[in-house]
């Protein structure tokens, strides 16, 4: 936990940095926010983007906004909804700025001159020894998350990975409760098909 300890140190901005002149108290408050939320923000960003570099950029951008708005944030106000909504918006922003990296649902058929074609995936159960290692499973799950549309993925990440209740997710994403329910149900159905061998193993009480 040395990284966290590092963030506890009072943040004297280095020489020549153009930062708003915050008092030590305000900087300590910012530090408190970082400690409380940074791991969650990073985790959500990582599960959404699927790679470290984008997750880091998204999280840093989100906290930069907190930093700039520090005086407008009431002390002790719960920032969860606001922060996670920023992450969600920043991710959508990222997709828009990078149209070539646009996430396309892999389960939708591809249109070709000879009609629609469905993508084929390698059978994940083909190599039984390697398949049930923790890292391999994590990678498979992350890849399966990437198959989902951003909307479905965000609901799934907030619910099943971050453990939010439906009401909270509805508040974070500003969508009706019924939308949260239906998105989550659809997302789990898609994942369950993609990850069938693991789901079956999990059902039989197996743990990696």
């Amino acid at each position: 936990m040395s990284e966290i300890a590092a963030t506890v140190a009072i943040m004297a901005p280095p020489e020549g940095v153009r930062a708003p002149a915050y008092t030590a108290e305000e900087l300590a408050r910012y530090d408190g926010i970082v400690q409380r939320y940074a791991r969650h923000v990073y985790n959500i960003a990582y599960r959404m983007t699927g790679n470290q570099a984008d997750a880091r950029d998204l999280s840093q951008e989100a906290f930069l906004r907190v930093y700039r708005a520090l005086r407008r944030v009431q002390p002790g106000a719960p920032l969860e909804s606001w922060l996670y909504r920023i992450v969600s918006n920043l991710y959508i922003d990222l997709l828009r700025r990078r149209p070539r990296a646009r996430v396309e649902s892999l389960v939708t058929p591809i249109e070709t001159a000879r009609g629609e074609m469905v993508r084929e995936f390698p059978d994940i159960a083909a190599n039984p020894e390697a398949v049930f290692e923790r890292e391999h499973i994590d990678a498979e799950i992350q890849q399966a998350l990437g198959v989902l549309s951003p909307e479905l993925r965000m609901v799934l990440v907030l619910s099943d990975i971050e453990g939010f209740a439906y009401e909270e997710i509805a508040a974070i994403l500003r969508v009706p409760l019924g939308t949260v329910k239906s998105r989550l149900h659809r997302a789990r159905q898609v994942l369950q098909q993609r990850l069938r061998p693991y789901v079956e193993a999990q059902r039989r009480g197996w743990r990696p």
């Binding site: 940095v17 880091r56 840093q60 407008r72 099943d160 019924g178 999990q202 059902r203």
Partner: protein, 188 residues
């Protein structure tokens, strides 16, 4: 409860997010329906599989960058840039770097005034010219611009930069700390 409706409620049932009456109805259906029991078990296993993912570990430099959010990469806002410039000018004045200019200002105020006026004019010239150009461009281009955005908004509202900027922009900052608005509950 019919099979189709129970099927749609299974995820919420797994999460304990149904009303007591709905949950009872689903439970009764599960006793009768092997297919729904199977679907229920698979949904729960899927959820548990995701819940078992370890939290992603941020890289080491992540924490250092969060400590000094302004120092890295991001563009500082105009206000901070002006403040920084003003601070540097003040420092230069104190350090005596402006001594020759101070002499001019004191001994020949008219020269100094003329010099300042000339500097201001030189600085203002591109601004004025830019504004005139823009005004001119609007006269020609406004129809095209509006037409373009109207088409784009109708076609794909979330792709229109101006529109999305409006929806997802910094306007949200004001809302921090505000009590959340009641969430629409139109389906339950």
């Amino acid at each position: 409860m019919n099979h189709h409706r129970a099927g749609r409620l299974l995820s919420a049932y797994v999460d304990g997010e149904l009303t007591a009456a709905e949950a009872r109805a689903v439970q009764e259906h599960l006793l009768d329906c092997a297919a729904c029991r199977d679907a229920h078990d698979r949904l729960r296993a899927t959820r548990d599989l995701l819940a078992g993912l370890p939290p992603a570990e941020p890289p080491a430099e992540f924490w250092a960058n969060l400590r000094h959010p302004i120092a890295q990469g991001s563009v500082p806002s105009g206000v901070w840039m002006l403040r920084g410039a003003a601070a540097r000018l003040r420092a230069a004045w104190r350090a005596g770097a402006w001594a020759p200019w101070r002499w001019v200002a004191v001994r020949r105020p008219a020269w100094a005034l003329a010099a300042v006026a000339a500097m201001l004019m030189l600085a203002a010239l591109p601004l004025v010219k830019g504004t005139v150009d823009r005004l001119h461009a609007t006269e020609i281009g406004v129809d095209l611009y509006v037409h373009d955005h109207a088409m784009q908004m109708g076609h794909a509202p979330l792709v229109d930069r101006a529109y999305v900027g409006l929806v997802a922009g910094d306007a949200e900052l004001v809302l921090a700390g505000e009590t959340p608005r009641p969430v629409g509950d139109n389906v339950r």
